[in-house]
């Protein structure tokens, strides 16, 4: 009986102490149904200005101040900046490397110098790197993701 008690105790402690960086963030009704991969999104964006999509991609970096934006890899060379609708939800700051399914409107966007510097600051980049930004950048972007599943 003592063994059972000890097992129960240890199991409770473990279940209480493990903090997961996985789950559904934002719209809790977000599902994986109909998801496409990054390469498929790139093809879709070569034919359309913007695409309402659920895309599965690997998170490569996350805002280290609050978790209010993330970059995901669409393929080996191309990344997409994801921000969250109305600043209404954030993602765990330690979820880089995880797979995410992100729902929202993807498009090619021009990011201002101001924004690019801000992103670098949020990523705790060195000052020289921040100062080196002098021109806007065209990039793939999902500015108002409505829901994110992190696996």
């Amino acid at each position: 009986m003592k063994k059972i008690l000890y097992t129960l105790f240890v199991a409770t402690i473990i279940s209480c102490s493990v903090e997961s960086n996985k789950g559904v963030f934002g719209d809790q009704n977000t599902t994986e149904e109909g998801k496409i991969n990054g390469q498929e999104l790139l093809v879709a964006l070569s034919e359309n200005d913007s695409v309402q999509v659920k895309v599965e991609a690997t998170i490569n970096s996350i805002c280290q101040k609050k978790g209010c934006w993330m970059y995901v890899d669409l393929n080996e060379e191309t990344e997409m900046l994801v921000r969250f609708k109305d600043y209404g939800f954030f993602v765990p700051m330690d979820a880089s490397g995880n797979t995410a399914i992100i729902e929202g409107m993807a498009k090619v966007d021009t990011l201002s110098v101001e924004w690019l510097k801000h992103l670098k600051e949020d990523a705790n980049a060195p000052q020289e790197e921040i100062d080196a930004i002098t021109e806007p950048q065209i990039m793939y972007s999902m500015a108002e993701a409505t829901g994110v599943i992190i696996k």
């Binding site: 008690l5 129960l8 963030f25 209404g88 954030f90 765990p92």
Partner: protein
């Protein structure tokens, strides 16, 4: 004795689980945890939206007076912008944030004296100016607070 121990253990486990659910509710927006200032700003956003709806959008409500509850909540919140603990501990180091906070507080006080659309928009504008300096991410949300008719 042994049975009592199990009962106590189960009781503590249940309490513990209930508390962790409460924590989940409060960190729903940000799984990384929110600072006092971030939470305050979310409240101020909600207060301001309510003010906009009450004064300018809803014809059935008095155009001059805010509800006592909303007024008191807003009054408490806007003043706390000077003292609430921020996400980044060095936010107040160079005085720039406090300068913006004072501009905002002045514009709120002006608005509360004369609840005009111009003074309301000036209050929202001061939020935007501060966010342009410190946190661009929230600007698209704050922009929606402007009275645009």
């Amino acid at each position: 004795m042994f049975r009592n121990f199990i009962y106590i253990f189960l009781f503590i486990s249940i309490i513990g689980c209930t508390n962790s659910n409460k924590e989940c509710e409060t960190i729903e927006i940000n799984p990384n945890g929110e600072s006092e200032l971030a939470l305050l700003m979310r409240d101020l956003h909600d207060n301001t939206l309510e003010i906009k709806e009450a004064l300018f959008l809803n014809d059935s409500i008095s155009k001059t007076n805010l509800s006592v509850k909303l007024f008191n909540e807003f009054k408490y919140n806007y003043a706390a912008i000077r003292t609430a603990n921020p996400t980044e501990s060095n936010l107040r180091q160079d005085g720039i944030y406090d300068g913006y906070a004072d501009l905002y507080i002045n514009s709120v006080e002006k608005f509360l004296k004369e609840k005009s659309k111009k003074n309301y928009n000036s209050m929202v504008n001061n939020c935007i100016q501060c966010h342009k300096h410190f946190c661009l991410g929230a600007i698209s949300k704050i922009n929606k607070l402007y009275y645009k008719k």
